[in-house]
């Protein structure tokens, strides 16, 4: 029996989180994998999804009211699909897209969703972080259909392949619900890589002291080709916009290299970067929690180290 993946895309291209979600789905056993591309003027996305390794069938649903992926509009479509096919799992990335829509679907299917799956043990048993990653809960579901959101930073992206492309099926759209309406989306444009997918992240805290000093971090990030992150304290102090926030109330990241500068490493922040491969701490206080979890620590004044790092890299 197949599994259904709710694909995140922007009507032009597949979001990388979808590729990680597909990899997670391949760990569920030998189920067929169906990917739903619901949107508007998104047929090219559906065609390209046919080339993702592991995908057996792409379902393409098109309507003006799907353009902005409103949960109210996508939910009836997915409910309808589950009536036509015996899906064992409905899976979405644990991004702002998937987290918004999937619980709405799960409630109408009368199933308890499993959120932020970080490990798939078998088709019924999953691990999810709780208490901001300070504990891991192993849970089991015996329900006929399971709803899962996937912590995508922990799964590789499924590669593309021109061999054995998946079949493409157009499905009818559901009528518009019209209880909510999209007005606009302001995307913060940046030359730097996206914080959640960057291989290198340079993060700063309140000890930077000012917006101007925070700019030094940006210079370092650009030298390394990395993204900029921050603690909540730095965001609250106005040094950097909120979308750079890492941790309990911000983004969860897992880069190859994380460099924490001028931050103590409060649990609210470090829970968002625990899965980084290499952690570097630059801090004058060797007892700071960030130094205790770091692979490499420099006990030094950031205002001396930063210019030197920028110069020598």
């Amino acid at each position: 029996m197949p599994v259904l993946i709710l694909a995140q895309h922007n009507n032009k291209a597949i979001h990388p989180a979808t590729l990680s979600t597909i990899t997670a789905a391949t760990r569920l056993g030998n189920n067929e994998i169906h990917v739903l591309i619901a949107g508007y003027k998104c047929e090219n996305v559906a065609r390209s999804a046919c080339l993702i390794t592991g995908v057996d069938k792409v379902l393409h649903a098109e309507a003006p009211h799907y353009e902005h992926f409103l949960a109210e509009e996508i939910t009836p479509l997915v409910i309808g699909l589950t009536e036509d096919e015996n899906y064992t799992h409905i899976i979405a990335p644990a991004t702002s897209f998937g987290k918004n829509i999937l619980p709405r679907i799960a409630a109408l299917l009368d199933i308890q969703q499993i959120s932020n799956v970080s490990e798939i043990i078998d088709e019924n048993t999953f691990v999810q972080p709780v208490y901001t990653g300070n504990a891991l809960a192993t849970v089991q579901s015996e329900s006929k259909v399971k709803a899962l959101t996937i912590r995508t930073t922990l799964f590789d992206k499924a590669p593309l392949s021109v061999e054995n492309p998946a079949s493409l099926e157009h499905v009818n759209h559901t009528p518009a619900v019209n209880i909510s309406r999209f007005i606009q989306r302001e995307i913060i444009e940046t030359e730097r890589p996206n914080l959640t997918t960057a291989k290198i992240v340079v993060a700063g805290g309140r000890a930077l002291g000012s917006k101007e000093n925070f700019k030094m971090l940006e210079t370092l990030a650009d030298k390394l080709g990395g993204a900029i992150g921050a603690t909540r304290a730095a965001v609250d102090a106005g040094y950097i916009p909120n979308d750079a926030q890492i941790g309990q109330t911000g983004k969860i990241i897992a880069p190859d290299l994380y460099i924490g500068i001028g931050l103590s490493g409060a649990v609210q922040h470090t829970s968002g970067l625990r899965d980084s491969k290499v952690i570097v701490a630059i801090n004058t206080d060797e007892k700071a929690p960030i130094c205790e979890m770091a692979d490499y620590t420099l006990n030094a004044d950031l205002f001396e180290v930063l210019p030197e790092l920028i110069e020598k890299l």
């Binding site: 109210e72 619980p103 209880i179 909510s180 979890m293 890299l313």
Partner: protein
């Protein structure tokens, strides 16, 4: 406009949590408890809407043991008009009452109270599931806004609410018809501390107690098998200078 604000009693966010010796749950004995931080933002927003004359009544509600009265009294001191406690001896987490049960319970209360708006936190900081608001909106058939960082009440037109939501890489603006469910993020506002006179006044505000009705029959639930520590990181080293750091990153870790 009548506003319902569900809240949850959770371990205070500054406490480092411990797993119990049976590896079956987080130890909540003798631990400082508080209103879930995101729920405090929801309460603050509801109270501000009332203070500005846009809301007529703010009702707060929780599911929990009798101890959860503490958090309801705090909510009343912050400015809620009345409170409802749905009493249950079961914990409200993965090992007990789960998101879907909570949503079904609030669905019943919403049908009794007929609020125009349900404001709640985007997730609780214990199970981190982030499901209840969307599930409640689904059961009620109402529009939803999740991760909301601003709420504006519109005076005219078919839609009564304009909201801004924090989404990947930016901010999205939506308009919703009421009644609606809105889940809120920390950026929405800064919750007030209750002042002593308000704490005194809150003692006389109505707090209704109801028994939790077991809604679990027929629903599909998940079983909590165990709770474990995340794997520890390998111990690190302290380096003498920037040159050594660059060398280690290039040649040992090979990440730059």
């Amino acid at each position: 406009m009548k506003i319902l604000v569900p809240i949850k009693r959770v371990i205070d966010h500054t406490v480092k949590v411990r797993i119990n010796s049976e590896n079956s749950a987080i130890d909540t004995n003798n631990v400082k408890m508080a209103i879930n931080p995101f729920d405090a933002n929801a309460l603050e927003e509801a109270v501000r809407l009332k203070e500005s004359g846009k809301a007529s009544e703010v009702i707060t509600i929780t599911i929990g043991t009798e101890k959860a009265q503490e958090q309801l009294r705090t909510a009343l001191a912050m400015g809620a008009d009345r409170a409802i406690l749905i009493k249950s001896a079961l914990p409200v987490d993965l090992g007990g009452i789960q998101s879907l049960d909570v949503a079904k319970t609030f669905y019943r209360i919403a049908n009794r109270e007929n609020p125009d708006l349900i404001l709640m936190g985007k997730q609780s900081i214990d199970s981190d599931a982030g499901q209840t608001p969307q599930m409640l909106a689904a059961l009620l058939g109402w529009p939803q806004s999740t991760y909301t960082s601003s709420i504006t009440i519109l005076e005219d037109g078919d839609e009564q609410l304009e909201v801004a939501r924090e989404v990947d890489g930016g901010v999205e603006t939506l308009r919703l018809k009421i009644p609606a469910v809105i889940s809120v993020d920390l950026q929405l506002n800064k919750p007030r501390y209750a002042r002593l006179p308000d704490i005194m006044k809150a003692k006389n505000k109505p707090l209704e107690m109801l028994e939790f009705v077991d809604l679990l029959q027929g629903s599909s639930h998940i079983k909590l098998l165990k709770v474990s520590e995340p794997p520890p990181r390998a111990p690190g080293v302290t380096l003498p200078d920037v040159d050594t750091l660059i060398d280690k990153l290039r040649h040992e870790a090979k990440v730059i």
